[in-house]
Each structure stands twice: as structure tokens, then as C-alpha cells.
């Protein structure tokens, strides 16, 4: 069953075509990686999916409902969670309050604390719960951001370059976390780290110059000559 699909999705910034005519389908339960060189339009594409950006033309459909005109907060309420490329936690609020804000909107009040505890346990930040989020290291802030994403129990979790700036050991625990989460939710992952993509993704979508270049299993993408030329480099 298709969870999310876009048809003819296009975004133009002052004459520049950032995303052109993208038809994209994401089946339920899949971990999909979205890759492409810098400036390929990945963040713009997910921006239109989660409502941060209005498309110039085209439609977005989520669970058979056209959501192109819904404001971002309504899309989040439907179950699309987005974690930011540039870490965007609340630095002056406690780690607990950061996750509680994400949880409170849909979880009944008495259960919020337990949900917060379990989300932080999962990303390994339980022992930092009362610290201000701004005091966490960059890598820990990324993990906090991910915890804020999945505590919402989303139907679609969009992670925008989640491993950027993480240490190798942190990337390993991130992989384990995603393998845990894939049992309960669909994941769309923008990622530069090819080892993460190869290990985690069921399928990979490649964008280049705002257009869909290729789609397939990690192995197929790895062997695709066009992708190699555009993304991995010729040679």
C-alpha cells in the first residue's frame, strides 16, 4: 500500500527550478533513502512533502488524501514527523521538555512522562534528561532531534541528514535505532553517508538537478552507471 506519493511536484525559486516534476511513491513500511549531490533538491522536496514549502505545482498525497494545501502543522497531525537538517532543538529548555513538547500534542497527559522516558532511553540520553538541550554535544542534539521525531509515533518519519556530524560509534547506534524503528513506522531518510544508505535502505531514490534520476535497491543504485556519473563521480 502506498503511504505517500507526489505527482508532478515542482518548486521554482525566482526562476531557478529547484525541483522539477517529481513523481515519487513510498510504500508503507519501507525505509527509503533519498540521495543526490549537494543542491539536488532533496531538502526542497521533503519541505514540500511536510508543508514547510508550498509547491509551485503538483500534488502530494498521504494515505489516499491530497494534502497539497494543508498547512504544515496539520500534516504533522496526520502523522508526518520531520527532523531538521540543521539541529533545531530548544536549547534553553530541558531535554525532558524538548521531548515532552513533541509527545504532548497527541499522547494523553498521564502517559507523557513514560513516553518521554522511553524515547530518551532508546536514543541513550536518559541520563541527561534534566540538562538544558543546549548543553548537549552536537551528536547528542541530533539524537534528541530524532527522539522528538519518533516520540510522535508518526506514520512517516522524515530524517534530514540525521548522521551529519555524528562520530562513527554514534552512527552505529543510529543504525541500530533505525532498525528498531523500521518495525513500527515508514522512514524517509535524506543521507550522504553511503554506508548508512547501503545498510539501512530498502530502496533508494536519486535526485539530480531537481529531477528524479533513478530508483531501485541499494545494489541496483550502486551499479547504475548514470548515478555513478552524477553522484559517485565518473572514473
Amino acid at each position: 500500500m502506498t503511504l505517500l506519493s507526489t505527482r508532478g511536484l515542482t518548486k521554482t525559486f525566482a526562476g531557478l527550478q529547484a525541483v522539477t516534476n517529481v513523481d515519487f511513491d513510498l510504500p508503507k513500511g519501507e525505509v527509503r533513502a533519498l540521495i543526490g549531490p549537494n543542491g539536488a533538491g532533496k531538502t526542497t522536496l521533503v519541505g514540500m512533502i511536510c508543508g514547510r514549502l508550498a509547491p509551485t505545482s503538483g500534488t502530494v498525497t498521504f494515505e489516499d488524501r491530497v494534502i497539497t494545501d494543508l498547512p504544515a502543522h496539520k500534516r504533522v497531525q496526520l502523522g508526518i514527523a520531520y527532523t531538521f537538517q540543521i539541529t533545531s532543538v530548544f536549547p534553553r529548555l530541558s531535554v525532558r521538555e524538548n521531548v515532552a513538547l513533541a509527545a504532548r500534542r497527541h499522547i494523553p497527559k498521564p502517559d507523557v512522562q513514560a513516553a518521554v522516558d522511553s524515547a530518551l532511553e532508546r536514543v541513550g540520553l536518559k541520563n541527561r534528561i534534566d540538562e538544558d538541550a543546549g548543553n548537549l554535544s552536537y551528536g547528542h542534539q541530533r539524537l534528541l532531534e530524532i527522539a522528538m521525531g519518533f516520540v510522535q509515533q508518526p506514520r512517516l518519519l522524515i530524517l534530514d541528514e540525521p548522521t551529519q556530524g555524528l562520530a562513527d560509534s554514534e552512527i552505529e547506534s543510529f543504525k541500530a535505532l533505525i532498525n528498531d524503528l523500521r518495525k513500527v513506522t515508514t522512514i524517509l531518510l535524506i543521507e550522504h553517508n553511503m554506508s548508512v544508505v547501503m545498510e539501512l535502505a530498502d530502496r533508494v531514490t536519486v535526485l539530480n538537478f531537481g529531477e528524479l534520476l533513478a530508483e531501485g535497491t541499494p545494489q541496483q543504485i550502486h551499479e547504475n552507471a548514470e548515478v555513478q556519473a552524477a553522484y559517485l563521480g565518473k572514473g
Binding site: F90, P91, E97, L101, R105
Partner: protein, 314 residues
């Protein structure tokens, strides 16, 4: 003691102290404190929008004046008694803040400051324009006979102090409760990072709208009470100066702290009062003190207290 226990203890302790002070204070300070409590209520209203939601308004005099004129004009021209006039002041304040919020919240940052400032100036000019009813700058006195609320003559100092105390206590407890609810915590999060709150699925516009109406209505209640307790309504209360005052009080006391507005108002009131007793150039003393405070306690008095000692202060 638990954190909640300490918070409740501190705030109720302040209220108990203010209640007790009326029996021991000399007449002069007794009158001052009544005025400070009303103005601090205005600052509490301002703090909800500025300190907790992060929206810097330069037009709160409009709400203060809406309450004041909603009360005083209906007493003066429609023959209302104090209670329905007070209610009218609150309703007018809520309506004006809702209308301004719907327009001003379409903007952000500097544009928000300018839009609120301009609307407040328009309000000020409207009061001057309708001088036939408002008597413009000169203003008008509300007679003692018209200032009787449920049998209590509010021109009488003890009743006035008590009424100011009830208003202040209500505003303080509303503010304290509000910032501890999920709604209040979402406002704080909007102050910190609005885009992130939106992407957590919250309707940030609706939250800011509600915050501005609550803030405006509390400010209007202070304006209405001021007219009722001190028996005067004049256009100067709608001037830009009265939009700057609550900003100053809140900044000095500590933006985003429940007690900050009271501490800031008290401090500023007595700073001017005491320095004007020493020299006619009292604004110089006040100014230097403010500069020193801004340099060494940029988070305000209560804000610094929270940063250094009592981390649990709401």
C-alpha cells in the same frame, strides 16, 4: 520541599506579605503600593506576550486604555455602575486585543513592533479626536460616588488597597498557572523556536492569538482598575510612553519570570520616587541605574536570581 511546593510557597508568601503590609505601611507608601500593584498587573499582562511568547509589542497602551475608557466612558456617559462598567472595560480590552492580534500577527519581528505601535498611536489619536466625550489630554475625573463596587467605596484608601491587591493576586496566579500548563509551555517553546513548534504539529498562529488576547485582557483589566481606583481617565495613558513602561518594568524585573513584572514595577517606581527627592535631575539617576542594571543583570532582577540561585523559578 518539592519544586511545586517551593513555587507555590514563594508566590503565596509574596501575596501574604502584600496583604499584611497594608496594616503597617504609612499612608504615603500605602497609596504607592496600591498603584504599583495595579501597574504590576499591567506588566504581568505584557509579560505573557513579551516574556513568555517572545512577541515584542509596542502598543500595549492601546489595551490599557481600552480597559480604562471602556470603564470610564460607560460610567460617565451611559450611567453604568462600577461592576458593569468594569466588565465592559474587560470586554472592550479583549475585543480590541483580538482585533489587533488578527492583524498584527500576520507580521513578525520588527514589523510586528511597528504595526502594534501604529495601531496604538491610532487609538491615542482617536481618543484625542473624540475630545467631546473623552476630554482628550485633559481627561476627566470619575467622581467618588461613582466608584462604589458592590458597596465598597474604592476612593477610600483601605478599600482601594484591597481592590488593587485582589486584582494583582488574580493576575499573578493566572500568570503562574498559565505558564505551568501545557499551553503555557508551548508558548515558551514558540518564543524559543517557532518553526520547530509548528513542525511538531502545533498551530502556532492560534497559540499566539490566544496569548495576545490573554495578555491584552489582563492589561485592560489593569487599565479599568486604574480608572476605577484612582478616579481619572486621560489620553496620556494611551500614549506611547505607556507602551514603553511595561516593557521597561518587565525587562528590569526579568522577562519570562512570573515575579519579574512586580519586582520591575516596584523598583522603577521607587527609583524615580526616591531620586526625585534628591535632585530635580532625577531622570539622570534613574537612567544611570538602568544602564548599570542592563549591563550587569541583562536578564533582569528576578531573571538573574533564577540564573544564579533559584533555578526552579517559573
Amino acid at each position: 520541599m518539592s519544586e511545586t511546593g517551593r513555587i507555590i510557597g514563594l508566590h503565596l508568601g509574596l501575596l501574604a506579605l502584600l496583604f499584611a503590609l497594608q496594616f503597617v505601611l504609612p499612608a504615603y507608601h500605602h497609596g504607592n503600593l496600591a498603584r504599583i500593584m495595579v501597574l504590576a498587573s499591567y506588566a504581568i499582562g505584557y509579560n505573557i506576550l513579551f516574556g513568555y511568547t517572545g512577541l515584542l509589542s509596542l502598543g500595549h497602551a492601546l489595551f490599557f486604555a481600552a480597559g480604562m475608557y471602556g470603564l470610564s466612558l460607560t460610567i460617565q456617559h451611559a450611567g453604568f455602575t462600577a461592576a458593569p462598567a468594569l466588565l465592559t472595560g474587560l470586554i472592550v480590552g479583549a475585543a480590541v486585543s483580538a482585533a489587533l492580534a488578527l492583524l498584527a500577527l500576520r507580521t513578525a519581528g520588527v514589523a510586528f513592533m511597528i504595526v502594534t505601535l501604529m495601531f496604538a498611536q491610532a487609538g491615542y489619536l482617536t481618543i484625542l479626536y473624540f475630545a467631546e466625550y473623552t476630554r482628550g489630554d485633559e481627561g476627566f475625573v470619575i467622581q467618588a460616588a461613582q466608584r462604589v463596587l458592590w458597596g465598597f467605596d474604592l476612593s477610600q484608601p483601605t478599600n482601594r488597597y484591597f481592590a488593587a491587591f485582589i486584582l494583582f493576586a488574580t493576575c499573578l496566579l493566572v500568570s503562574l498557572t498559565l505558564v505551568r500548563t501545557p499551553f503555557g509551555r508551548t508558548l515558551i517553546a514558540i518564543r524559543e523556536n517557532e518553526e520547530r513548534v509548528r513542525m511538531l504539529g502545533y498551530n502556532t498562529f492560534a497559540h499566539k492569538l490566544a496569548a495576545m488576547i490573554i495578555s491584552g485582557t489582563i492589561s485592560a483589566s489593569a487599565g479599568a482598575a486604574y480608572g476605577l481606583l484612582f478616579g481619572y481617565a486621560g489620553a496620556s495613558f494611551a500614549s506611547v510612553q505607556y507602551s514603553i513602561f511595561p516593557l521597561l518594568w518587565v525587562l528590569l524585573g526579568g522577562a519570562g519570570t512570573v515575579l519579574g513584572p512586580f519586582v520591575g514595577t516596584l523598583f522603577m517606581f521607587y527609583l524615580i520616587d526616591l531620586s526625585s527627592g534628591i535632585t530635580t535631575a532625577y531622570m539622570l539617576i534613574a537612567g544611570v541605574t538602568l544602564v548599570v542594571l542592563t549591563l550587569f543583570a541583562p536578564q533582569g532582577l528576578v531573571g538573574e536570581l533564577r540564573r544564579r540561585v533559584w533555578r526552579w523559578l517559573p
